[in-house]
Assembly symmetry: C2
Homo-oligomer: 279 residues x 2
Amino acid sequence: MFRIGEFSQIARVSGRLLRYYDSIGLLTPQHTDEATGYRYYSADQLPRLNRILALKHLGLSLDEIARLIDDKVPVEEIRRLLAAKRDELQHELREGALRLRHIESRLAQLEDAGTLADYDIVLKSAPAQPYLSVRASFPGMEQAVAMLREVTRAIARGVPPQHRENLVVLAYSDFEEESELDLEMGVALTRDIRKRVDVPGRGAMEMRELPSAERLATVVRSGTDYRSHQALAALGTWMEANRYRIAGPCREVFLELPFQRPDQQVSFVEIQFPVTQAA
Amino acid sequence: MFRIGEFSQIARVSGRLLRYYDSIGLLTPQHTDEATGYRYYSADQLPRLNRILALKHLGLSLDEIARLIDDKVPVEEIRRLLAAKRDELQHELREGALRLRHIESRLAQLEDAGTLADYDIVLKSAPAQPYLSVRASFPGMEQAVAMLREVTRAIARGVPPQHRENLVVLAYSDFEEESELDLEMGVALTRDIRKRVDVPGRGAMEMRELPSAERLATVVRSGTDYRSHQALAALGTWMEANRYRIAGPCREVFLELPFQRPDQQVSFVEIQFPVTQAA
DNA sequence: TTGCTCCTCACGTCACGTGAGGTGGC
DNA sequence: TTGCTCCTCACGTCACGTGAGGTGGC
């Protein structure tokens, strides 16, 4: 029989750990003196402790370990638990490798620019949402902005504030192209509305669904520069460095409803690109 | 200005997170109503929140993030912090890959044997320790055991219990070879002792140092089977699966001093192999 | 006036490390 | 008797999630 100090020295663990394992019933000393509270361990408890340590090193929680070693657990359950751990670890390793690339691209950026980038890209996910919109093609930006103004007014008039969230523009055409702009303009809603909302000269807006998105690479640009090259460039660099590719039409989310007062600027816009991991 | 609910919906974070960041001073709302405690955020606080989220995603702690974004931090410090994070992550990824192999070898074992192995291998490290010993060659196991008995008695007589730890045998010869056994037998001590301790027919034991070991692959065998093939086999399998190789003489640590009473068995022995990562 | 949103505690998380303050054992 | 070892609280960790219980705002 060993006192806790000897036993901990043999196993090269702390006394505190042994007391803790005792307190949670994971490893109870063979004998505890009632009067003094002294714990006495026997040598043949060492294999059990070693099993605990070995399983802990595999990444199992003490709860899981307790379940595995306490009674006769069917092999099938052990297999399931270990396989689940394996999958979990594989997933973590993939995420970790991604994070490593993120950090390395930030470091490279520091070398290039001498400072942290002005734009921070953040990954988000978004649920599907009701979406009231119109879609059209435009020869140029000016016409698109004019239309956006009309759509905004229609929304302000026709959709009660408690039912609407943000003004969202979907861009189906490529930014690079000088040709036509194919845009859908509308408002995300908290619930479907049945009311007809008209845009002058365009007719009724349509109820659709803004699809959910697992991964959105997002960046916020201020509204003062209308098409922020820098924000888009930052997104592009980031996607390349982290091996994402675009998986759907770009979304522009307006944080505040613009054009409400004559002097009101577009304040901030979040650009969102649905992305997937490149192969 | 947004109330906390709107702001959290825009940024897709929880209100609790925003309150927490406020409480630790990481992101203070632009205005807080004194009377009601309501927090009001402005749109231009979103870039700061995004920077926080982006850095958090890289694995920085909120403390580190606060240091990086609160004042004008020199670029050099940012670089250092990110480089440190990168190294840390690389290390974690290597450890994780190792753990993954451990798990996979356990799973393979389950398939083969239909149960968890009887022996659990545990990695430990050990500091250097004073060591009082004799080294000799033996034609066979019987002679070695006879000698171990003598050495044990000499220790029991000559070294006071409070100065000694475990009986340790170092095996310089390979287990596989049928030829001579080259063994060092002695006792690990809590401090150097100067007293002469004689083994009958061998002369004085020598004070040496048991070198420290970064990584020891260890397994406990019960003393009843003298040379446990199974324990050694388990260690071998484990080292192969996890790509370690032997980096020094094997140690056998006797948990209790054997041969003290005529009927006393050797109870448990921990076999320790110094190992290094294979290339 | 009724929901809705917001507020402030306060506990729980996971596996111990680290004192504080006190007592048994050789 | 003096150290030494052991004991039992209890706080701290990290970044919030999750109620509980209560109040302002449209």
